[in-house]
Amino acid sequence: MRIAIERRPYDSNLMKYLSPVLAIVLTLISGGLIFMIQGQDPWAGLYTFFILPVSDSYGWSELGVKAAPVLLCAMGLSVCYRANIWNIGAEGQLLMGALIGSWAALSWMDSSSSWVLPAVLACGAIGGLLWALIPAVLKNHFNTNEILTSIMLNYIALNLLLLAVHGPLKDPHGFNFPESALFTDAVTLPIIMEGTRLHLGLILGLFAVATLWVVMARTFLGFQLKVIGLDASAGHFAGYQQRRLVYFSLLLCGALAGLAGISEVTGPIGQLVPSVSPGYGYAAIIVAFLGRLHPVGILLASLLMALVYMGGEMGQIDLGLPLALGSLFQGMLLFYLLACDFLISYRLRIQPSVKPMAFPDTSTGVSQ
């Protein structure tokens, strides 16, 4: 008797959707154990972390505020990952969106015209798009690995943002402190629920969810992306223009991440500051995977991720738990998910003699 790993003849659809649920359950169990190690009642800990943040309507609205930027970034990333393009640069694209958008907002904020806000948002999207254009061009024309270039560009974007906020975009009446002037109402996102901070950014995110759902499920473009993602050479044989798809997915992701960035500064923050993002672009990577690269899944996953962030704050305020628990849970969630995903294509069988089938798999490789 031994436990045999056996490849399923077909990928299990059930496991595909069960796996994230299983991962969440495992994370909750581990979370409970950690609370016990911390000397807390595990139920009280889990309650404070996952229920208390959304125990009132204001909490729900804040969940939306926190989820909006992650949702936008993750939607963009999911398109990239479906096409097997490993963009890690959503963070930098978000920051560039915030930077370019803020520059536009500061230049036009005294105007009373109603096109100012849409123009500012467009500038934010373009900022992210242009930043994503760099890895796209380098990948298409210089064969450069997008993982490394997009990571490097994150650091460069952060420094450019700091440069701007310490220099040209600094509030002239702000005593040299590194932040821009407060945005006027003309360039501030409208609040969609009175008395909260819930802003238009969430609507933009939901719009992206709906649009991409249709695009991926119903259009030829979506089909092409999926085929390229499954097997680049198959797509090549079918005559798809791989370069065009690289441009499409990276630029789309850049634009969405840029939109997330400008929504943050013109929304809840209200000015350009050095710390626009506490790592939304990285959290979005987890969210994209957790949501199975599916728009609805990503929506749910982004809400969960926002809850983990807020739970970390609650745990600190109410129970004095260390703040790091939040990011610990994020990492665990992704680990469990990856482990559970094994059960999509394989099953475990306690059997003595059946030999597993072997399939060389070239689909998930990384081209250098």
Binding site: T149, Y155, N159, L160, Y282, A324, A339, P360, Q368
Partner: protein, 308 residues
């Protein structure tokens, strides 16, 4: 620029480059076997925090380094279980490792932030340290820096002349043909991966025990990613990793040195230089497609499914 200033800058260059060198050498071996582990940052952070706590509680720096290495290897084990055994996507697993390592290290290090210990002191090599300039730069450093030199030489010899070295290269090129000629693909990948974890852990411990002997959340500040870039920068060659790590070290201190000299370039702009340099080198290396194909291990990042 006078000779003393030059010596001092080169000395700081070697020091600053050492953590990069350690982590990049580990990742180089790992990638040679076909495993792409993007979790360097997470492994380094764990090495840094565990090494620091061990050294602080026992008062023994070497023990701290050992524990840092163990922590890096433990993290690599996690990666191995998922990416080698369960054949999960290596990119996603590596990212998970980085996020998890950042969280876990911050969590276990909470009580140790702001504590100090007396870190590794320089060990002046007799005679060699009397060589002008080079003596100060290369032979007045601490023990871990010397260790990094030794590991460089050993790895260079390993890949150049030894059978296991060639074996790892063959496995990285094509695990399936390697299996066909009877090479143990899975065990070899595990060993390469664990070596990578150990080196990243040591790189982290270097930061928390020698470079800035204290623990601070996220203190690796992207060095794990730079280590990854360095491997590509060096086109998978040991001697070029050494050169690259020192160049990076130089780039990251030069912007501070230039400020001290009164240069009025923005410090933020100067701080982007190492990252820009990496991108430029990546482009130069990869633009020639056939050449870059030859340099990178062919199976890099692809899970290996053993035949029954």
């Amino acid at each position: 620029m006078d000779i003393e200033l030059l010596t001092n800058i080169l000395f700081a260059m070697v020091r600053t480059g050492t953590p990069l060198l350690l982590v990049a050498l580990g990742e180089l071996v790992c990638e040679k076997s076909g495993v792409l582990n993007l979790g360097q940052e997470g492994m380094m952070l764990m090495g840094a925090v565990v090494g620091f706590i061990a050294a602080l509680t026992t008062g023994n720096l070497m023990l701290g380094v050992m524990m840092g290495i163990m922590a890096g290897m433990a993290m690599a084990c996690l990666f191995g279980v998922l990416a080698i055994q369960l054949r999960a996507n290596q990119v996603a697993t590596g990212l998970a490792l980085t996020i998890f390592g950042a969280g876990l290290s911050a969590y276990i290090g909470t009580d140790y932030v702001g504590q100090g210990l007396s870190g590794f002191q320089p060990f002046i090599v007799p005679l060699l340290s009397d060589i002008p300039v080079l003596g100060k730069v290369l032979f007045s450093q601490d023990a871990l820096v010397y260790l990094s030199f030794i590991i460089c030489i050993v790895l260079w010899l390993f890949f150049k002349f030894s059978r296991p070295g060639l074996m790892i290269k063959a496995i990285g090129e094509s695990p399936y043909s390697a299996t066909a000629v009877g090479l143990p693909v899975i065990p070899a990948r595990w060993i390469a991966l664990l070596f990578g974890g150990a080196m990243a852990g040591m790189g982290g411990a270097y930061l928390s025990l020698a470079y800035t002997p204290l623990w601070a959340e996220g203190m690796t500040a992207g060095r794990g990613w730079i280590g990854l870039a360095l491997v590509v920068f060096a086109s998978w060659k040991v001697e070029r990793v050494l050169l690259g790590a020192w160049l990076f070290g130089l780039a990251s201190i030069m912007h501070l040195v230039l400020q001290g000299m009164g240069a009025s370039i923005s410090s933020n702009l100067l701080a982007t230089l190492p990252y820009l340099a990496t991108i430029v080198v990546l482009v130069l290396l990869s633009s020639n497609q056939s050449r870059s194909r030859m340099l990178a291990p062919m199976s890099l990042g692809k899970p290996y499914h053993p035949a029954g």
